[in-house]
Each structure stands twice: as C-alpha cells, then as structure tokens.
Amino acid sequence: MELLRLEEVSKCFGTREVLSRVSLSLEEGELLTLLGPSGAGKTTLMRIINLLERPTSGRVLFRGRNLLELHGEELLELRRRMVMVFQKPVMFSGDVYHNLAFGLRVRRVPEREIRRRVREALELVGMRGYERRDAKTLSGGEAQRIAFARAMVLEPELVLLDEPTTSLDPVMEARVHGIIAKMRERGMSIILTTHKQEEALTLGDRIAVLRGGRLEQVGTPAEVVYHPRSRFVAEFTGMCNIYEGRVVESVDGECVVRVGEALVRLAGGAGAGERVCLGIRPEDVMLIRTDVPLSRRHANLFTGVVRQITPRGGAMLRLRISGPLEVLADVPRHVVEKMHLHPGGEVVFSLKRSCIRLLED
C-alpha cells in the first residue's frame, strides 16, 4: 500500500531552483534511500515531506491526502504520523527523559505510558538507564542515538533520516544501521538520505539518485548499479570507466563505437554517427590469458600496460591500465598472482559486450 507520493515537487529559494519536478512514491514498510552529493537537494526534499518547507509547486500526498491543502488540527494529526531525525541532532535543555517525552506529551499520552515507552526506546538504542542524564552533556554519538530514540518512541509510520551516518566512523555507523534494522522490524517506513553509494545500496529497498535537484533514476539497487541511466548515476555508483565516442556502425541492436583510437562493440541501439557516452564497471573488465588460444567469445579485445596496482577492500586489486583505451580493472588477487602481473607489464583485456552501458550525458 502506498504511504507517500510526491508529484512534480519543485522548490525555489529566490531564483535558485533546488528541486525540480521530483515525483516519487513510497510503499508502506519500504526503505527508500536518497543518494546524491551535497547540494543535490536531498535535505530540502526531506524538509518538504516533513512540512518544514513548502514546495514552490507540486503535491505531497500522505496516504492519499495532499498535505499542502490541509490546515490546523487535521494537518497536525497527519504530521504526527511521521518524524524526521536531523543530520546534526539538537537536544532540548533538560534531561534525556524530557527529550524523549516531549513528542509524547504534545500527543497527550498519559505520563505512565510515557515512562514505559521511554524506557523501551532507550533500550532499543542501547542507552538504558540514561533517563536522568543532562541531554546537553551527551557526546555526539550518544546524542545521535537519543535523537533516534526520540523519534522511535513516537511509533511513527514514516521516519525521515537525514544523512544519519555522514561523518560517523564505521563502528558508530554499524550501530546506527542496527537501529535502522530495528525500526524496520517495527514496520516503520523509512526515507534515508546519504552520499555513500555503499550505504544506499545495502540499506535501500529502492534507491533514488538526485542530482542538482533532479531525480536521475529510481530503482532497486540492482537496477541502479547494473543499469545506470545517466553518466552521473554511473559515476556516482562506481562505474569508473566512462568514455565518449561516436557510433560508426549499428546493426541488429548492436553497435560499434569509436572511442579515440579504439573500437568498442556493444549491445544497444544507437544510430550511426550519433555521439554517445558509454561505461563499464571495473569488475567487468576481464583480463585474458595469452598462453591459451583466444576464444571467439572474447569481443572487444584490447592491449595495454599496467601502470599501478592497488588493493581494494576485499580480495580484489585495482589495476590502472593505459593503452588505446585507458581502463581501471578490478581483478581478483589470485588472478593477478597467477598471471604474474606487475606495473609496467603488458596485459590483454576484454570488455564484455553485455556489460557495457549507453549513458545519457
């Protein structure tokens, strides 16, 4: 069931358009990640959903009702079904209990139930017994978790998390991811903004990539990673080999593109003579052993010289290869060892036709 729908939402600050006709929907129980660099409009979008900002045009539907047309009590009632956790949470003066109780008190929850729910929420974020601590004396990490508890204690239908892990170290980040998992167990729908590709992919049921206020692509992690629609999405999700070229031949849904001196054959329809942009992930660059005969399967064969070998987190090594086609290739370590590759050495590689994507520029 659809919980939230944005229709053609735009937002201008003065003459600067920070959001441009963004349409997006969120299913109940879903976790949507908004991925994009700083200044892409992620936070503004969240603030519009949370009614902290009014869009210049467009509609925001929460369970089918346009939030922008509601007023007074009715609006307050709907707004109380969602909550936002800011990137840099602020604590109210007073103790932790006062902070967690605030949202419940404005909802006229009996104090007795507030006590129970506050205790429960503190336990969920691993801060049991912190009720009487002065909220202003908490460390950054503690305040972050209290901010999560302060939101969860309201049992909202929709939680908006604005860059919850930016500038956290991996230890704290894992902790926050654990809390997010608990939110999902409780059936809360979540929208989370991040500029970390990996986080967006790991956490999101779907990912929306924002760039300069425009929605570049929305899709499952697999769709976004393996079928980036634009050059920007490709670069932002780690497709680091991107070339511009001109189609020289186009037959039967395949075409040949000239990139500098090199000819690249790929699946995809583009008219001859067209200027195109194409990309391939570094893992899809295959090194070819030259001591066995080349099979016909290997299209797009190129030679090059290894310039640099750096380990990637994992058993992969990243090779920078120069030649007619400059590429970065991520290759399993055992392959590199078996082929005795080293900087300065020659290498033959192939680009798999079905892994090369045509990208909008």
Partner: protein
C-alpha cells in the same frame, strides 16, 4: 586616613541602628526601582515573544528603535519625562512631578528597552533547529513557543537583571524627575529627616557635597550590596547554563 576610618565606622553605625533617614532612602530606592523593573519585565517579555513569533511590517525599524532606546542617556530620558509631566507640559495635570510615581515611570522607560532587546536576542538565539525538532516531533504552535521560551529562559532572566542593573544605581533620570527631596518631621527622638523622592544613588552626591561623608558611605554600602546580589544572581545563572549553551 583617620577621618576616613571614622567615616566608615559611623556609616556602619548608621546602618546597624536602622537610622530612619537611611532606611527611608533605601526604601524609596527599592520600591521605585523594583516596581520599574517588574513592570518593565511584565511588559517586555510578552512583547518579545510576540516580536519573535509573528511577522509584521516595520519589524526591522522597531528593532532599531528599541536598540536606540537602550542607548539613550538616562539623564535625557529623565529630561523628556520631566518635560512631559511638568506643570505646563502635556501631562502636567496629573501632578506627578517630584513623586515616586514619576520616578517609576522614568526608570520603567530605562529598563524596558534593555529587557525587551535582550529577551528578543535570547529568543532569536535559540537555534532554529530546536524549533524544527519540536515541529517534527509533532508540537503545535503553542508548544513550540513554550519550548523556545524554556530554552531562552536564561537569556531572558539575564535581560531582567541587566535592566535592574541599569536602574538601581542610576542617578540622572531619577534626579531630574524626582528632585531628590527629603523632609523633616518631629518625633520623640527629635527632628528626623525622611526621604520622599531621595534614593541611595541621588543621596550620595548630595551628602558628599554637604560634607556628610558617613551618610554617603552608608548609602554606598547598601547600593553595593544590591549590586553585589544582582551580580551574584547573573553569575550563578551564567555558570548554571553556560555548559549547556556551549554544547548547543
């Protein structure tokens, strides 16, 4: 030097024996200045809230006006009040010249813009993120306002104390409108001088010029005590809230 020590000694004696002149002068000071501060706070704080939570035309201009008011020399304020209330002035029919009431009015005008201005600053200094956090947690307009007031409480109290500081030891305005008047009555102990509109602060220059250093010192000591208490309160609040403020 001996003369000085003697003066101090006699001043302490005056204080400890509850000399009627000293007591009545201190009473006038406390009554006038406290009334002025309380009234000014009662008027300024709600106005500050309205100022910060409502949009209206000429807001910027008003703020400039308030800040100018804060910088007005007390003696000029006294003069203006005097001119309005003097017998031939527009409010002269009220007959308030040289009464405690007009002293309260003058000091009210001194305290009001400070309390208003500091309160507005304090409320505006509450980070927008506090308001927004309250909103996102589901607070209504009134609840946001109460929360912001709570966060600004320290600043507002500081403002009231600053108003008190400006008013309690002030001479120019109170001298101009009050006239520094005392009168003598016959009692069983003989003739006794009592204050009508004389305050600690206006009595000091008068007594020194008359050569009654002991009375001047006695008045000075009481004034110091009041200032000391106001300072203590301000410092206590600063220390109590400084940790939180530094965090925020």
């Amino acid at each position: 030097m001996e003369y000085l020590l003697e003066g101090i000694q006699r001043a302490l004696l005056l204080l400890l024996s509850f000399d009627p002149y000293v007591v009545s002068t201190a009473k006038v000071q406390l009554m006038v200045s406290t009334s002025a501060v309380v009234l000014a706070a009662a008027a300024a704080i709600p106005l500050a809230v309205a100022f910060c939570f409502r949009e209206f035309p000429l807001k910027g201009f008003l703020l400039t006006l308030i800040n100018t008011g804060m910088g007005l020399p007390p003696v000029v304020v006294g003069l203006v009040v005097f001119v309005f209330f003097m017998s031939k002035g527009p409010l002269g029919f009220l007959g308030l010249i040289y009464t405690k009431e007009i002293m309260v009015i003058a000091q009210f005008i001194l305290a009001f813009p400070i309390i208003l201005s500091v309160s507005i600053s304090a409320i505006n200094a509450v980070p927008v993120s506090i308001r927004e956090t309250a909103l996102t947690l589901g607070a209504g307009r009134r609840e946001v306002m109460m929360l912001v007031l709570r966060e600004a409480a320290f600043g507002i109290i500081t403002g009231v104390l600053a108003g008190a500081g400006r008013v309690f030891a002030e001479v120019g305005a109170i001298l101009t409108v009050g006239g520094n008047i005392a009168y003598s009555v016959a009692t069983e102990q003989g003739m006794v001088t009592l204050s009508k509109t004389r305050t600690l602060s206006t009595a000091i220059p008068l007594e020194t010029s008359k050569g009654d250093i002991s009375s001047a010192i006695a008045f000075g000591l009481i004034l110091l005590l009041i200032t000391f208490i106001l300072n203590l309160l301000t410092n206590y609040l600063r220390r109590r809230y400084a940790g939180g403020a530094a965090q925020a």
